[in-house]
Amino acid sequence: MIRFDNVTKRYDGAREALKGVSLHVEAGELAFLTGRSGAGKSTVLKLIALIEHPTRGSVTVDGRNLGKLKDREIPGYRQQIGMVFQDNKLLADRSAYENVALPLIITGTGQREIGRRVRAALDQVGLLDRERYPPRTLSAGEQQRLGIARAIVSRPKVLIADEPTGNLDPDLALEVMALFKRLNEVGTTMLIASHDLHLVEHFGARRITLTGGQVLESSVAPLTESSGASGP
């Protein structure tokens, strides 16, 4: 479902963020992307979200080589990818309902269908009773769950998340991860960037460990100190 073939990314005038990275996430798989800050985790997600383009190599998502997508095809591609961000990127002046409805409004979904799917997504993350609340009135955990509801409301085949538990306390982090696990169980392919090794190990999914812009290892085994990743 997600394939990186020998991908190198060099930012203007800076070091290489990724050096010949090759990785593969199967359809329906839940994989974690781990590594220290600056290891290249966010760059991998940016390349999948088409916020950045590789300097060399190719990125393929759901059979589409992203390097060959035309500019006008990018919005359509992004509509099929669910994204969860560490800072949520919620719209402060909109209600929870309106935030979750945004991806469906963008795709031109009918009002009745929007209402049905938004409430289903809010129900899935346990925020149905908060639909009229603006994000600032919600707790950090609720905001993160709201971001997840927005990412899943359009039923994406692929969901990527960048440090989705970074701002949460351990209990909330577990709660959010459990939500991801449930979504994965219904067939959504997931790639979650996280530096929280304890949390990753708790779920026993495959880890792809990056260090210095290269894939160090890909395994489900507990990491050793030499892996370069750090715990919380």
Partner: protein, 307 residues
């Protein structure tokens, strides 16, 4: 996307843009007033030019010239000459005033009635009144007069060329002034709207970034701002119409009174329905255009990012 979804989307954007304006009433009122004043000025100049034409008795009347036939030339020749002139290039119409008609008209004037009664025969010649086409300029009018003068049976062509040239020059000047002023002020409206939309784009950059990240197309992102520009134009056009109507109402009577003191029957013309519609259309086009220039320049610069 279905047609109903598409229409719903546009309706939502249009209403949403109105909501954006209503949430900032003071800023909106100031912007709309500036647009209204900018649109009202060229429109007022247009009304002035139109009234100037009325003052001169109309474009066509003032450029009419009289062709006096020689004494003894019959009415048949006058009719024949009229037919010849009607097919000449640059001639719109020719009217024949027979000597009998002319003397009858003159007899109605008490100042002439006595003198005419004392004469044994009608001293007036048959006359043709030639109306040139509006497109005929001063030089062409002079040439046309000279040609008519050479026609058989013509005694005198009375062409008030100086007056025609002067009026033509004044109206041409005012018309050009109107175009230049109008062009500059429409450009000012485009800039005002464009700058206002630019600020709005900056204020909503986070929202735009998120929308693009979620797959919003350029058209989706652009649409609310275009409706915003459209509403600025519509509201500015309405303000301009009000300024025009109130201004004409307030100035009409004093101007008529002033003209009366100089023996003129000049009246400031009213704004016609078509001129008011033109003001509104100008506002809509300028508002829409200003929004386009802003979104074309600034939306592309906002690209999604993950920190």
């Amino acid at each position: 996307m279905s047609l109903s979804s598409w229409l719903t989307r546009h309706a939502q954007n249009a209403v949403g843009a109105l909501g954006t304006l209503s949430r900032n009433p003071v800023a909106t009122a100031l912007t709309v007033t500036v647009i209204g004043i900018a649109l009202a000025l060229p429109a007022a100049l247009g009304v002035l030019v139109q009234s100037g034409r009325t003052l001169a008795g109309g474009w066509a009347d003032v450029r009419d010239f009289s062709v006096y036939l020689a004494p003894g030339v019959g009415l048949d020749r006058a009719e024949a000459l009229a037919r010849e002139l009607r097919v000449k290039p640059g001639v719109e119409s020719v009217r024949v005033i027979s000597a009998d008609t002319a003397v009858a008209e003159l007899s109605k004037d008490p100042g002439f009635a006595g003198a005419l009664a004392a004469l044994e025969a009608n001293p007036l010649p048959h006359t043709l009144v030639v109306r040139p086409l509006v497109s005929v300029d001063g030089a062409a009018l002079e040439k046309l007069g000279a040609e008519v003068q050479k026609s058989n049976g013509v005694d005198l062509v009375k062409l008030d060329l100086e007056w025609a040239k002067r009026l033509s020059a004044v109206l041409d000047f005012l018309r050009r002034l109107g175009f230049i002023t109008g062009g500059l002020l429409i450009a000012a409206v485009v800039i005002v709207v464009g700058n206002t939309i630019r600020l709005d784009i900056q204020n909503r950059s986070a929202e735009i970034e998120v929308a693009k990240l979620l797959g919003a197309t350029d058209a989706f992102v652009r649409r609310p701002f275009l409706y915003l520009g459209l509403w600025y134009g519509v509201l500015g056009g309405v303000v301009a119409m009000l300024i025009l109507l109130v201004g004409l109402w307030a100035l009409g009577e004093p101007i008529t009174r002033l003209a009366g003191l100089y023996g003129s029957s000049f009246e400031l013309g009213g704004a016609t329905g078509s001129s008011l519609l033109a003001v509104l259309a100008g506002g809509v086009l300028a508002g829409w255009g200003g929004a386009w220039t802003a979104v074309a320049r600034h939306l592309a610069a906002i690209q999604p990012k993950i920190d």
